[in-house]
Subunit: 244 residues, 2 copies
Amino acid sequence: MSGWVTIAGLGPGDAELVTPQVTQAIAEATDVIGYIPYVNRIAPREGLSLHPTDNRVEIDRAEHALTLASEGKRALVVSSGDPGVFAMAAAVFEAMENRPDWQALDIRVLPGITAMLAAAASLGAPMGHDFCAINLSDNLKPWAVIEERLRLAARADFSMAFYNPRSKSRPHQFTRALEVLLEECGPKRLISFARAVSTPEEAIQTVELGEATPEMADMRTVVILGSSTTRRIGPWVYTPRRAE
Amino acid sequence: MSGWVTIAGLGPGDAELVTPQVTQAIAEATDVIGYIPYVNRIAPREGLSLHPTDNRVEIDRAEHALTLASEGKRALVVSSGDPGVFAMAAAVFEAMENRPDWQALDIRVLPGITAMLAAAASLGAPMGHDFCAINLSDNLKPWAVIEERLRLAARADFSMAFYNPRSKSRPHQFTRALEVLLEECGPKRLISFARAVSTPEEAIQTVELGEATPEMADMRTVVILGSSTTRRIGPWVYTPRRAE
């Protein structure tokens, strides 16, 4: 039997948001590779080996999956959300650089519901017009690049989704991001903090940017900043389709 | 029985990409409202009224759904992809402005796999780093706003996804968008055209921006422009997670 690597998105947490395509891939896999809390979402069964690993070992994980596939295994790499959005798909392709043998393998990427769009659905429609997604972690890029990108995105008047806004190892950066955004967008701009969307721990709040504090976010939070036209209606937050 | 409005994303076309949450909502609905080709994806059954309508009547459609819900019906508004991305969710909230009675209704938004992320999965991982999504239709915003946004997004070095790139009624604008992007990004930048992703008519091609022509896109195409680091590896296109 020939091996494969499939990189699949499990969605934000709720089993009702896992696509049938991904459910089928889970049923066919011999091995599941991923970050511990994501592998924990896969039901154990006979013939399935689970390989949970800690954070920040994305390339090791990718090489492990590619090695298993080259040995004939059906290796499923699982990400939360969508695997192409700040997740494992790019890491698998990075691991394939300079490895023509791995480039010849059967590789598939299966999309999933990314946190930003699940959060947007819970909030209403804050990404109802043009938007961007920015990873605020500076593990893989200089902070100056992030800050310049925030300013340009504000001037372009995008709604913005921020992934990985804050971690224990870099608590000051989200503080700085909020300062930059306040300078560019003013205190009345709406900002939403969506934690653990679609799970039993889901917690969502929307405030004006002038009232936002860094402690409103942690690493399980996706933060959504509205554009200049984003508004509240009843309990909802939405961005009209029309721009001036 | 109390009525509701649920705005649901059917994903890009493949039934295997419809979430179980949306499948359940379809089973519970009494009425389905939406653009003709999307309503055509819902299987008829006894007790379910289908209300397909033509393009460009989004607010009429939203008001129809809200009226049905206020009469006790369970109205499902269907969009392709994700309802919060250039689709019906924002239109429903727009229709609720100045209607406190409608704001008190039971409203839910159910996310779906948006075309950009399905296309990215087929291509590899072109949105593997920071990215933006821009609607190129100027039905609802001036072209000058779009052009300035394209320039700022290029300077921010986002990967970019373009929805509604080209229609018969405005063929010249995508030509102009390509000119602007060529000025900002140079001829070697990778650009992908993904048509009818996940359907039997799926057709995907990637070229350098200097070789791109407007005819490569139509209204069923999502266009993905890479960032400065986006590259090919074997048959794949991906953006590394690392930025300089």
